[in-house]
Symmetry: C2
Subunit: 195 residues, 2 copies
């Protein structure tokens, strides 16, 4: 019986987020995070290599993204393959119940240069994984880079919009609308340059 | 009289590049870099905060980029402002005499995860600076982000192409051609999505 208990990894993430918000990232130690979660330091290090990793977790996102692109129908256009893979991640990571958590995580990262670096590198790695996954589908290098860059920018903008929206719009819809808007922007910006 | 002597900063950069290529980044120390350059460790630290910074130098690129975007004619389209600023940097950093140096620098970075991270963060910072500089010109946020992302991708691709070209094509021309090609890619990818 008793109340629902999240697993150790989730407890560590929530404890870290609380502490980072209360006293700042720099002034929080791994021991304090473990204590707040009711766990030991060695349990912490079984789940994360260091304090910086606690908000970034295992690399499920990259795996989901690569799988999603590979699983798109054979005839799918490159950008459609990217969009459906991003939708799949959104359904996993950006559910309505997680909105408050994601918003707090974003606030902590925005306040901490070290975490901003980590977030930027993660975005960079995700984009590189998309490029590889598209190449695996036989998409040429230049097209793969353009589609991945566009998907990555749409993702970043949709992420902010989804957190800030008060009307409970779901992530997939926000992403699709953002992609359409960006596409219009690209058309307007590039029509004079294209050969 | 005697032969030309580059200044201390340049000597440190060249010494570091030699040592990184000879024995790898990890196995090279700051003291060895200073010795190879005929300088002291404290001179090294007057120019660079640590070993990782020696290939990234002062932040002249960001300054040139921001100035270049601000200096574009009032009527210039956002992407034109970005392209002319990138041309200006290219003329500064990617001269024919520097091609061999830039190629060696790229090889060392490609072999060193730590330096790849630093390079990725630098690209990220440059893109953010472009977005800010465009906003200063009154460009709306979404357009500024799209133009900067496109400029940044063109820059990365043109950089590789310029290093690999054996025909001595100059950087500005490579960049312009790459931008036109990317524009065509965007048109092909997005025409079905744009509203």
């Amino acid at each position: 019986v008793g109340r629902w208990k999240p697993n150790a990894q989730q407890r560590l993430v929530l404890a870290a987020l609380d502490l980072f918000m209360e006293r700042g990232y720099e002034r929080t130690t791994v021991i304090e995070i473990a204590e707040r979660a009711g766990l030991t330091k060695s349990t912490f290090f079984r789940h994360f290599s260091d304090k910086r990793e606690v908000l970034f977790g295992a690399d499920t996102m990259t795996a989901l993204l690569v799988e999603g692109i590979a699983a798109a129908p054979a005839g799918a256009a490159p950008l459609e393959a990217v969009a459906s893979a991003l939708d799949a991640i959104g359904m996993h990571a950006f559910t309505p119940e997680r909105r408050a958590f994601v918003a707090r995580r974003r606030a902590v990262i925005a306040a901490t240069p070290d975490l901003q670096e980590r977030e930027a590198l993660k975005a960079f790695g995700l984009t590189a994984s998309m490029v590889d996954a598209l190449r695996q589908r036989g998409v040429c290098d230049l097209t793969a880079r353009v589609a991945s860059q566009l998907g990555s920018l749409a993702w970043q903008i949709a992420y902010d919009r989804w957190i800030d929206a008060s009307d409970g719009t779901d992530f997939a819809e926000t992403l699709r609308r953002t992609l359409a808007e960006l596409s219009t922007q690209y058309l307007l910006l590039t029509r004079d340059l294209a050969g």
